[in-house]
Symmetry: C2
Subunit: 198 residues, 2 copies
């Protein structure tokens, strides 16, 4: 029995590192990649190789940026409202809604007491310093509605209690287009508690 050539195995191995990709999918990717013209392979390699050269995190707000931060330098944005998100991906998702025009603060990750991921001192310090200096009036905690999201939100709320800013969290309720009999009891309970006049 002959097996895959070594370089093909290496290719499958690196592709398997992508999230949610197991051996079978990685093999499919690899054989697909093999059929590409060389310039397409080189282009992909070049884009991946130069990620760290092109993309970095803003030292002020933590957002993913290429050169200068378009969020921190945009003075037309509401400078007194701060939205706290876990990752830059979440930031872009909120921007996509076009419902928010304030500033952001990217934590980098959620805290997870169970997995021993504690809040990093410098992340919190940066946040508190910014709230103080900018005299932020409203803080929106836009974190996942998961165990880690709840723990992180609670922790941040406590840290922010020294400030007079109004702190809020994203509403919990039915996702749009959802059927009631498919919704879990927890969500339904929160949607009920948060009902609004109609």
């Amino acid at each position: 029995m002959i097996r895959y050539p070594p370089h093909l195995l290496r290719l499958i191995d690196v592709l398997k590192k992508l999230p949610g990709i197991g051996s079978k999918s990685a093999e499919r990717f690899a054989f697909h990649l093999l059929d590409w013209p060389e310039e397409k392979q080189i282009e992909m390699a070049e884009v991946i190789r130069s990620v760290k050269q092109h993309l970095k995190n803003c030292l002020v707000c933590g957002a993913l940026i290429e050169k200068k931060c378009v969020l921190c330098t945009d003075l037309s944005r509401d400078q007194e409202t701060l939205c706290i998100v876990a990752t830059s991906k979440d930031l872009f998702a909120i921007e996509e809604t076009r419902e928010y025009r304030g500033l952001y603060h990217v934590l980098g990750a959620l805290f997870s007491p169970i997995h021993g991921k504690k809040p990093q001192a410098e992340v919190l310090e940066g946040l508190l310093k910014r709230v103080e200096e900018k005299q932020i009036k409203e803080i929106i905690i836009a974190l996942d509605s998961t165990l880690e999201g709840d723990a992180t939100a609670l922790y941040i709320k406590r840290e922010l209690s020294a400030f007079s800013a109004r702190v809020s969290r994203l509403a919990l309720g039915l996702p749009m287009g959802s059927a009631l009999d498919y919704i879990d009891g927890g969500t339904l309970g929160r949607a009920l508690a948060g009902r609004h006049t109609y």
Copy 2:
């Protein structure tokens, strides 16, 4: 509203070229990749960049090889039996079964009359020349049981009719572990027609 930085868009774009990967998955891959240490990114880039340098197709049998073809040079393999497959991936899948010890011939792709993909003259010539020179006694057509696979198999069978070699095709029937009431009628019909004494 701010959007993804240009390099991130480029990264998402190249990842979207992987088979079965749409925008959402490519975004997930990209943000995952961003979190990798630089050496892991560079390793992935290097492996992809050097695919064509390391891997090529054997000029005789068409199998994917790194330096010399381990199939064509292995004289312990049955030199009178030839298995025709569409791709190297299929070849490795057959090797995995450990049920076959003969030679292979990789077509590169299935012919698809509907999509105008006609058999390439050099591929067919290579096959016919090999069958003649090697004095092949048995030919196994191991192609997909799809429309394209059937068309290709039929075409090849006709071309091979000039030789005395016995030509066979893979059995059609129930996949292992399958429940009868989940099997489509076509498969069941073929399984019935191909029933064997038990």
